[in-house]
Amino acid sequence: MSVTTHTPSEGVALRKRIANSSVVRIGRYVVMRLLTLFTTVVIGVYLTILIANMGGYVDQIIKGQIRDTITQSIANSPTGRNMDPETRRILIEEQIALEEKRRGLDTPIAIRNIRHLTNALQLDLGRAFNITSDSGSKQVRLILLERLPATLLLMGTSQLLLFFSSVFIALNLSRNYGSFWDKLVIALSPSSAVPSWFYGIFLILIFAAGFKMLPFGGMVDSPPPSNTFDYAISVLKHLLLPGSALLLSSFFLSVYNYRTFFLIYSSEDYVDMARAKGLHPKDIERRYILRPTLPNIITNFSLLIIGLWTGALFTETVFLWPGLGRTLFQAVGLYDTPIIVGSTIIYAYLLAMTVFMLDFMYAAVDPRVKIGS
């Protein structure tokens, strides 16, 4: 039985090897990236609060909340109920002043903003004035989290479809460069200057008002079907128009962009070399063209998604899709400040998450970007 002993230098080498193992490296990268992004989000949310609170609007939200709870609790307490209105009013005002002092609403605005920031980062967004969640809550966080799945469903399906269909079609076009379809896509690519809600209006006009094939808006039939299968079909039917509007608004430009990347990369010398070697065209495409363009494609895609996140707001409004965007629109109509500030913060989070995920994917597909090194 031999005993392995480590000299100090061997120990260092071993530690180095462990440090270099890809799991640790990726782990460290993720942590670092999360930290930087978190800082970015903190600054972003802080700026949002700064803009919102310029006229003291966030303070108003909290003050309203305090007034609400104190009035309620005194009105519902047995002693409060038996008081005459005048003493009760004085008591309520005193309590409110005390509570405002306790919550630090009399401190300077800079300190207050930092307090709002910590609340916002914990998604403690206060209570809505008018809008209630379907479960009956007035908590902004609950209202927004309840609407989030609808937005994710709409965005997720349309984005994935957009990504895969445009990459696939762009590959085909780059193969038949100069063909009729290629020219058509080039000619149509300026159509992406028009936002998705705008296409939405036309789609509603044609398919809902004209042919009466698809619903005008909403997410499910009313009343919603009871069995799961019918429910899914109904959602799918409602998803078709807003989804196509989102798809249509960026489809041609993204196909055009990807196609251009493919063409630029397929004129590289190593691709000619591979052709000369007589490799199968499929292999050339996959290994010599698609692989090196992936980082570009992902960058492009990430910018597109970031643009669409906030753009979906209008699409949801036009299609009465019960997501975040429509809630924000309703909040504008009802002047529901907590919801407006809250959704801005949620959007900031969503954007940061998108940036993080795409960043990670970027690093994963591009060997030149060494994760964690």
Partner: protein, 445 residues
Amino acid sequence: MNNLQASFKKLLQYPSALVGIFAIGLLVVVSAYAMITIPYPEAIRLWRGGEEVWYRNPKFAPPAWFNLFSSKKFSESFAVGTMDGGMNKVVTPGTDGITTYEMTYEFDFSYDVYPQDMLLYIDATFNEKQPFTSVEWITPDGRTIRISNFVVGDQYTYRFSQDDKLVAKLRAEEVIPALFSAPDSDTVLKGIYKLVVIGTTFEPGANMDVEFVFHGQVYGLAGTDHARRDLTLPLLWGAPVALAFGLMAAIGTSMMTMIIAAVGTWYGSWVDQLIQRITEVNLVLPFFAIMIMIGTFYSRSIWVILSATILLSIFTGAILAYRAVFLQVKESMYVEAAKAYGASNTRIIFVYLIPRMIPLLIPSLVQAVPAFVFLEASLAVIGLGDPILPTWGKIIQDAQANGALYKGYYYWVLEPAALLMITGLAFAFLGFALDRIFNPRLREV
């Protein structure tokens, strides 16, 4: 200069660029026409005007050219009065200061659809004794229908469709169809109709005038909205607003982006780092949500929105693209030479760095215009448009709020939508062609 001329010549080879230039030119002409014929204060007065300005127009009326495409003919709207001589007025003075006025109007009604409504606006001058009026309606088949008798004040409005007594007298459900069809029939009786208004004043020096307002089913070149407003006004005035907003935002954003990128690359170190960090934070800021916040909390004025848009659009991906090019230019010989002769930092940035970027700037500037034009429309559609200005986005918002798509008022959405589309696509087409000319790498593929 020669370079620019050559680029312009190349531009003319792109049909899409020609289409774009033509459409932009047309929009500029329309804007100039709108601003000259309807001066700004007048446009605002009309746009914000209510019933008192627009009472002559029907509600929700499609444009008159709808008849060209429809097998059923819709009646056109008109308004005539005795004041401007559009209506016949015969004054017969009687004894004891009593004067009789016979005011008549004949018109040919050869449409297939009943009009919306008819109104009489009676304007009388008198001291004490109120004038008296009776109204008669003579149909093409020679029937005379006594519409109503009433005593009028200074201003009196008689609305045919709202007269319950007349409904009872005609034994019909609604007044207008009954007046425009033969007895016991529910189709339109075409022919010459005659309105007779006989007024009597009982004092010397009294007078009476009538305006007959006929609310048809179609109106003018562009139709009307829920507030009876003629849509040609916001459609015309939307052009200068959209162009100004789009161009100012695009120019402001691209100039600022370029200057900041140049400054960052030139000074390097922490300035450059700071700019990059700001760009990262800006990427996470939800643009539309913040615009909505600004619109709801602070101001919806187009100037505030414009400034906020520019501020939020400076630090975007474009800054990184410019930075990459500036880094190359920074190392070039002529910048070295400028440094050697002792040029100041500002001189190098504005005289040597930035001019090199113009070819890259022009296409991106033109391509940015549609996004800003639609941004203004998007904000208007969710109710955050400028409260005073008539814009295309506001028309769409009004239409959406009144359920235009459900109720079939398609013209109301399609007209501003078409104009927005033309504006957006014109700049997109032009920018696209410019991009191909100034970025030769794209031209090859």
